[in-house]
């Protein structure tokens, strides 16, 4: 299962994002500053944004789902139970999972931001598509819910999962790190080596890596990366 982007360029008013990438099976994190083009790229992969140039090629992908940045956009029913059914899922399964059993008749638009996020993510994840795109899935969630989501994503043992997020602390164990820098999607490689090339790394991680690299202690750097990797994966 492969998703490849060939010389993709998407342009907006005075702004553009470029991508030449190949996503294999596993969990990918696409990170970058706010406004760097992560959502645009997510919608491009979902087929709802047409690039100015370039093409997308997929092999073995028969189903695609996207968890949108604003879950309100995904609401198509007047009740929580109806919303779950609109995904073709059983409310009796999803409602207990999302702790919304007592809100089955409530309008989804009247749920709190976190509740609605939980509901839509549960539905998207339950669909278990070949290509799963998650646009800022951690926003509106508290630490406990972020950790639970990380576990759910890690437990998905098939297909391509691409997380588009500027979250730097609550992340699942990822296979490949990508970063949008100056309007270009750049492959930082696999963890832990990718951490040394991650320009937007959390300050603590960055300080640790830089201090070790300055000391010329490559082995310690690798150990530090492994340690942080295990920290990420345990959160």
């Amino acid at each position: 299962m492969i998703l490849a982007l060939h010389d993709i360029v998407v342009q907006r008013d005075g702004w553009s994002v470029r991508a030449d990438a190949r996503f294999a099976e596993g969990i990918h994190l696409v990170t970058g500053r706010v406004g760097s083009g992560k959502s645009t790229l997510a919608h491009l992969l979902a087929g709802s944004v047409v690039p100015e140039t370039g093409r997308t090629v997929s092999e073995g992908i028969t189903s695609v789902q996207i968890g949108l940045q604003f879950p309100e956009h995904q609401v198509t029913a007047a009740t929580v139970a109806g919303e779950i059914r609109s995904w073709g899922l059983d409310p009796q399964v999803i409602m207990p999972e999302t702790a919304l059993t007592d809100k089955s008749g409530v309008n989804p638009l009247l749920l709190s931001g976190g509740e609605l996020r939980r509901l839509e993510l549960a539905c998207v994840l339950r669909k278990d598509p070949d290509l799963l795109l998650l646009d800022e899935p951690f926003s509106s969630l508290d630490c406990r819910e972020k950790n639970a989501l990380c576990l759910r994503i890690e437990n998905r043992n098939r297909g391509i999962t691409i997380i588009f997020s500027h979250e730097t602390w609550h992340l699942p164990r990822i296979d490949n790190l990508w970063e949008i820098v100056n309007g270009t999607l750049e492959n930082r490689g696999t963890i832990p080596d990718a951490l040394t090339r991650w320009t937007g790394a959390p300050p603590l991680l960055r300080r640790l890596i830089i201090s070790r690299m300055d000391a010329g202690d490559g082995e310690v750097t690798r150990s530090g990366c492994r340690m942080l990797d295990s920290v990420f994966s345990q959160q």
């Binding site: 008013d13 919608h43 979902a46 087929g47 709802s48 695609v64 789902q65 996207i66 949108l68 604003f70 309100e72 956009h73 995904q74 609401v75 198509t76 029913a77 007047a78 609109s86 995904w87 073709g88 638009l109």
Partner: protein, 213 residues
């Protein structure tokens, strides 16, 4: 056209010329061809929907013995002018024009309302695009059954943003009016194209009868 005042004047005069009759609509179309970047940046989906409404109205008019063809031509040209004015708009221009025309009191308020409305329109267009993506992912087609929930979501999001904006304005101490210094960039051909627009209106009014629908 850089100067928002001249653009507004041109939009009004050309709309008047186009609505006055077929000759005015023809001249306005020629102006649109010569003086605008045409299809660049035009929101084609929105234009298509608006054009569909014009076509439906024209067909109904024609069937009922009215000037359907004339309506179709005139209002299609007005749609082109409206699309050009919309895409040429830059944030802050309505505030500039409002304050320039009516001062820091009512002009500021009108400018603020205009700016917020246009911003809301642009954000709603993005919302609609996202909603359609979500519906496609659910395997739901775009039809009258899905139109109602999409509209409900759009209204809900619009109201919530309006509430947030009202709260921010209140916290910042806004009651009415405000101070704003309008700035109008000048384009090389702004005056020439505006004079052409005024000339088109004069010629249209002189040469054609005003069509009363």
């Amino acid at each position: 056209m850089q100067d928002a005042r001249l653009r507004l004047l041109a939009t009004i005069t050309l709309s008047g010329a186009a609505v006055s009759g077929i000759p005015g609509a023809g001249l306005t179309f020629l102006w649109w061809l010569a003086c605008t970047p045409r299809w660049d940046k035009v929101p084609r989906r929105g234009i298509l929907v608006a054009f569909l409404f014009i076509v439906i109205t024209a067909v109904v008019l024609q069937i009922s013995g009215g000037p359907g063809i004339s309506y179709l031509v005139r209002f299609s040209v007005i749609l082109l002018i409206a699309a050009w004015a919309y895409t040429a708009f830059r944030p802050g221009e309505l505030m500039d024009v409002g304050v320039w025309l009516f001062g820091d009191g009512i002009g500021f308020d009108l400018g603020l309302v205009g700016e917020m409305s246009l911003q809301s329109l642009q954000v709603s267009a993005d919302d609609l695009s996202r909603i359609m993506t979500a519906q496609r992912m659910k395997g739901i087609g775009w039809n009258w059954r899905t139109f109602a929930p999409a509209l409900a979501t759009l209204v809900h999001l619009g109201l919530r943003r309006a509430d947030d904006q009202a709260g921010i304005l209140a916290i910042r101490g806004y009651r009415k009016g405000g101070t704003h210094i309008p700035v109008f960039p000048k384009g090389k051909w702004d005056r020439v194209t505006t004079v052409c627009a005024l000339a088109i209106l004069c010629i249209s009014l002189l040469s054609a009868q005003v069509v009363v629908l």
